[in-house]
Amino acid sequence: MVSVQSTFVFATAQYQSGDWDSAPLVPANIIDTIAQYTSIPVAPTGVIVPLGSERLLEFPFVFLTGHLPVRFTDEERRMLRRFVERGGFLFVDDHNHDIDGAFHKTAVEEIERTVGPLRPLPNDHALYRAFFVFEDGPPTTSHELNGWGDNLVHEHLLAVTSGGRISVLYSNKDYSSEWNFHPRTKRMLSVDPTRFAVNVIVHALTR
């Protein structure tokens, strides 16, 4: 009997400003992680989906990253609003570890303008127990200092929630740098840094 079950597709948002493709190895790495730890059917390759196109509505999980200042176009704002209102999950990671937090300041402004206010996500949120257990909340990375230009390690992720569900998950942890390596490199690491990505995707698929 042929299965008609759909697979999880890792989609990366392409937006017109900034550098949306700053972490090109992340999709393959996360796909590898999902296949390795879970039995969730996952597409072997990710897709790139323009933020301002109707195609955005084909992928309920979308990853967005970058270093540079972000300014969405009107069409990108309209589509992002529709995406979130209909139940999509946008995972935004600040790839920035340079000065002044340019991505952070502009991306937060755009998200709050388009979708709603970002609030700190409690570290005992179900996200941190969705698959692996992260007792202290979001795992830190070796890159996150000064991600916002304030020389602090931030203890919380931020989120826009709607009806008790996360619509937008915002990270300043620079997971884009932490996960931007070839999947085969994982075997050299004592602790797989991409494990938290499993939690994010499992949470998006189940809550």
Partner: protein, 449 residues
């Protein structure tokens, strides 16, 4: 001293007065005898017939009041404008039970009936079905709640308790033509969703929760790892229905089959039919997948934009609920005390995400209705207002059941028959009393005892 003429004339006068007194006495006796005869001898059937034309129930009752007080009425015929209400109908039936022949005719409205039942849904919703020839307005004790098209039915998304009545939409001042009693009396429990972690299961849970259902779920993530919400053991004491998304529900298949036979509801998606226990419950077999029709998600028929695994070879006891281009998309059947619905659509979440502006609400309502259609919802006792109030849920049918089919008005009885007039009894009484008084006065005036 009386004159000789007086002596000769007085006996003649007295004889005449005695004859008159005798005549008056006989007249009184005859009048009393006639009255007695009229009381003791029943009137011949059809001898006294009443015919009336009455528009509404109030005027019908006025006519019935007159007829009921007249024992001479042996036949009655009403020309009605509408079917009378329940009280008037019972009155006519009682008149017939008392021996009168009761006939009726009316330009009878098209057969009309109304019924209402609560839906096993999380929101207080009432399904109202009515057969009417013209649109009607529905009202409860508070006011107008909805309208029905001619010959239509409706689901009212509100708590309606008490009496729901229908009146012609074109005539707002007219009395209700039919009414029924409705109340929310179902105990609606949780829904259990079983499947792999994936968009379909996730958006089914979201849609049901947004619709107000409390949802338990087990979404498998890896072998022996699942995201669990609530209790995942199917139980009619906790769950109204179970939604099986795919084969990850295999460990629960036997329990689910038992749950359904005990009355539980089950929604099966195409991937669930890869398991034999669910194939045994399903409405039909799993057909060959049909592709989604490009560009249809945002159309008026959004489910044409979904891939479809049709319900093939539906069982004889299955009922097709939805079809697409000749293929059965949704079908249901009863299994034991429970109900099973088999859904052929694949990835319905695509409709929610890429559909028209109302797609989220439509997707939510569709899923809620699917679950509602099979949900196990035992009745619970509640307060019923005015339980003694007779209601007319099918006025024309009940009129015919009570009085038989309509008949033409009797032409010969167009006017009331004189012998049947109730004043005759009083006239006879007055004659008898008057005659006796006159006879007594005559005797006393002439000095007789």
């Amino acid at each position: 001293m009386p004159s000789p003429a007086d002596v000769v004339a007085r006996p003649r006068v007295n004889a005449a007065r005695r004859a008159l007194e005798l005549a008056l006495r006989l007249l009184a006796i005859v009048a009393l005898a006639i009255a007695l005869w009229r009381e003791l001898v029943p009137a011949e059937p059809g001898a006294v017939t009443r015919v009336a034309t009455a528009g509404d129930s109030t005027s019908v009752r006025a006519v019935l009041g007159t007829w009921s007080a007249d024992p001479d009425v042996s036949a009655a015929h009403l020309s009605l404008r509408d079917a009378p209400d329940a009280i008037t109908r019972d009155w006519l039936r009682a008149l017939r039970g008392a021996g009168a022949q009761v006939g009726w005719d009316a330009p009878l409205p098209a057969p009309a009936a109304i019924t209402a039942e609560p839906l096993p849904d999380v929101l207080p919703r009432v399904r109202i079905a009515a057969t009417t020839a013209s649109p009607v307005m529905l009202a409860d004790g508070v006011g107008v709640v909805d309208s029905l098209p001619a010959g239509g039915g409706a689901v009212i998304g509100a708590s309606v308790e008490g009496v729901v009545s229908a009146r012609p939409a074109a005539d707002s001042v007219r009395a209700p033509v039919m009414a029924t009693r409705v109340h929310d009396s179902l105990l609606v429990r949780r829904v259990l969703v079983l499947g792999m972690a994936g968009w379909e299961a996730r958006f089914i849970v979201a849609a049901l929760e947004e619709a107000g259902w409390l949802v338990d779920a087990r979404l498998a993530v890896a072998p022996d790892v699942a995201v669990v919400q609530g209790s995942v053991r199917p139980d009619t004491a906790r769950h109204a229905a179970v939604v099986v998304v795919d084969s990850s529900a295999a460990p629960h298949a036997t329990a689910i089959a038992r749950y359904v036979r005990m009355g539980g509801g089950l929604v099966l998606l195409p991937e669930a039919l890869t398991l034999a226990p669910f194939r045994a419950l399903a409405a039909g077999a799993r057909g060959s997948a049909l592709r989604a029709e490009p560009g249809r998600l945002a159309s008026e028929e959004p489910r044409h934009g979904l891939a479809l695994v049709p319900v093939a070879s539906p069982r004889p006891d299955a009922r097709v609920l939805e079809a697409r281009d000749g293929a059965v998309a949704v079908a249901a059947r009863r299994v034991g005390a429970g109900r099973v619905v088999q859904v052929g659509y694949v990835d319905s979440w695509r409709w929610r995400l890429a559909g028209r502006d109302d797609a989220v609400a439509a997707h939510r309502a569709w899923w809620s209705a699917l679950v509602s259609g099979v949900a196990y919802a035992p009745a619970r006792a509640i307060y019923v207002p005015d339980p003694w109030r007779p209601l007319d849920d099918a006025p024309a049918a009940r009129l015919i059941a009570a009085l038989g089919t309509p008949s033409p008005a009797p032409a010969s009885a167009a006017a009331p028959a004189v012998p049947g007039h109730p004043g005759v009894r009083w006239l006879l009484f007055a004659i008898a009393v008057g005659a006796l008084l006159a006879e007594w006065a005559s005797r006393r005036l002439r000095g007789a005892p």
